[in-house]
């Protein structure tokens, strides 16, 4: 019998005394009285554990074997209930506590967002859920998944799917971000290609429009690379949507400054603890001047909800705040380590600038100490696409469709 089950059923520890107490054990087996941990105390006495409900039957069996059975102690749930019968108030209180515990599991006391890969913050999702009627203290058996999903997804188009799983008063909100639909390419209109960055053209492949620059030409950011007007012959031009892949050799210079001395924290060794209780949405602080921290100090907050993981959660949590005061002092950092950190930051900034298609052809770092600052400069040569589409505003004094309009002079369109 497992200990927990044994405890719930109740068991009795008995001693059996007689000339041959072992006969009692054989008789118990014959009468289907299970026993455990039989232990001889001496030649005439055995100590054995029996189920509580079978002690009377065991007593008669012992009598028939010429033994005497004495109950040493009773333990377990059944004897406890038996004793509580005399203490009615305690029994009623225990039953009420169990009832309240059961009722409390029908309400949501903790709500968390899991696996949130969307651009939305957890707080925003929880706010919309609360507006939809799902929050702390909500009676969850009355909730409808479809209603919640419909209400939340209509307010949050960034989400594609949402589910609220409730387990032991704890609601877990699982969300999936909506897949962004790529913008459709407009084939109408007049678009030209301009340079996004200054550089020297390395290659140019025009799919639509007329190239205005060639390989080896130097261009500045904003210069027109491919025209949005295509020559139609006889000094006529047709507006087109220019498309081209233009790769240029570009140069960048980034500089970062970092102080050689930094402030280091030294804990004073004194700690201060503050306590609070969270009951539902209300917080009761057991201290004054709640928002004011005493000087320079770190605050570590620990919230311990009253719960049995996966079974129930009560709307009660103990908050422990530990304040650790510290004093700051200037400390010099090794120049090499600072320089490496700065170089890493510069390369990261450069990669952000180049994007996925750009590549670094050559790079060089310079270091200099100016006063109490370390100055690190990155100079690099890169190869990157620089084509950027730019729509062109066309004159609106014509009623004809754009694709059917033939322009006689390029000066009629404005970049």
């Amino acid at each position: 019998m497992r200990p927990s089950r044994q405890w719930l059923c109740g068991w009795a520890e008995v001693s059996v005394t007689g000339l041959r107490p072992v006969v009692f054990l054989n008789r118990c087996v014959e009468h289907n009285i299970p026993f455990e941990q039989a232990e001889p105390m001496d030649e005439c006495t055995l100590r054995v554990f029996l189920p509580n409900r079978l002690t009377a039957e065991a007593q008669s069996v012992a009598g028939r074997c010429g033994c005497t059975l004495e109950i040493l102690r009773r333990r377990g749930g059944q004897p406890v209930l038996h004793r509580l019968r005399r203490r009615l108030v305690l029994l009623v209180s225990a039953v009420m506590a169990l009832g309240l515990l059961f009722c409390s599991t029908l309400f949501i006391w903790d709500i968390q967002v899991a696996d949130n890969d969307s651009a939305l913050a957890d707080r925003e999702i929880l706010q919309v859920l609360e507006d939809a009627g799902v929050g702390i203290g909500t009676f969850w058996p009355g909730l409808s998944s479809d209603m919640i999903r419909a209400a939340v997804l209509s307010d949050l188009p960034e989400l594609q799917w949402l589910a609220v799983n409730v387990r032991g008063s704890r609601a877990q909100v699982v969300v999936r971000p909506a897949v962004e639909v790529p913008p459709l390419r407009e084939e109408d209109g007049c678009v030209r290609i301009v340079a996004e960055h200054s550089g020297v053209i390395e290659s140019i492949h025009v799919q639509e429009g007329e190239a205005l620059v060639g390989v080896g030409d130097a261009v500045l950011a904003g210069d027109e690379l491919v025209s949005g007007l295509r020559s139609g012959g006889a000094e006529t031009f047709r507006p087109v949507r220019a498309r081209a892949d233009v790769v240029a050799r570009t140069w960048y210079e980034f500089t970062v400054q970092t102080p050689l001395e930094r402030c280091e924290k030294h804990p004073t060794g004194r700690k201060k603890h503050r306590f609070a209780l969270i009951f539902g949405k209300r917080r009761i602080n057991f201290y004054f001047d709640s928002g004011i921290l005493p000087g320079e100090c770190d605050k570590i907050t620990r919230i311990r909800p009253l719960e049995w993981e996966g079974v129930f959660t009560l709307p009660l949590a103990l908050v422990t705040e530990t304040l650790i005061p510290w004093t700051g002092s200037a400390a010099s950092w090794p120049e090499e380590a600072l320089a490496h950190a700065a170089e890493d930051a510069l390369i990261e900034a450069l990669e952000r600038q180049l994007g996925e298609k750009g590549e670094i052809a050559a790079l060089h770092f310079d270091r200099a100490v100016v006063g109490d600052m370390l100055v690190v400069t990155l100079r690099c040569e890169c190869l990157q696409p620089i084509a950027r589409e730019e729509p062109v505003s066309l004159p609106t004094d014509t009623n004809e469709p754009v694709e059917d309009t033939v322009w006689t002079e390029p000066s009629q369109w404005i970049g």
Binding site: V22, L25, N32, P34, E36, Q37, A38, E39, P40, E43
Partner: protein
């Protein structure tokens, strides 16, 4: 005795597992801490040093120290403690 011997010889000649055709004691010793006896016919004696098990035609004596009858039912009994030896009589 002769009839019993004949029956025993016959059952042994059958192409069947011995435990399927005889009600002999089956003893399983786990390390030196536990002995499980199946198909017993009851206990004959029980002290901290000796547990005597009735096996019908034979008697099994478990010798050791701090022996304890952990559990027992109609078919099986489990003895724990520091097992020193098993004797058949």
């Amino acid at each position: 005795m002769k009839l019993r011997q004949t029956v025993a010889d016959f059952t042994q000649s059958l192409p069947l597992p011995t435990e399927a055709v005889s009600a002999a004691l089956r003893v399983t010793v786990s390390g030196r801490r536990q002995v499980m006896v199946e198909y017993h016919k009851g206990l004959l004696g029980y002290t901290r040093e000796t547990v005597e098990v009735n096996g019908g035609t034979t008697r099994l004596k478990v010798l050791g120290r701090e022996l304890e009858l952990r559990a027992m039912d109609r078919e099986t009994l489990i003895i724990t403690g520091r097992i020193a030896a098993l004797e058949y009589e």
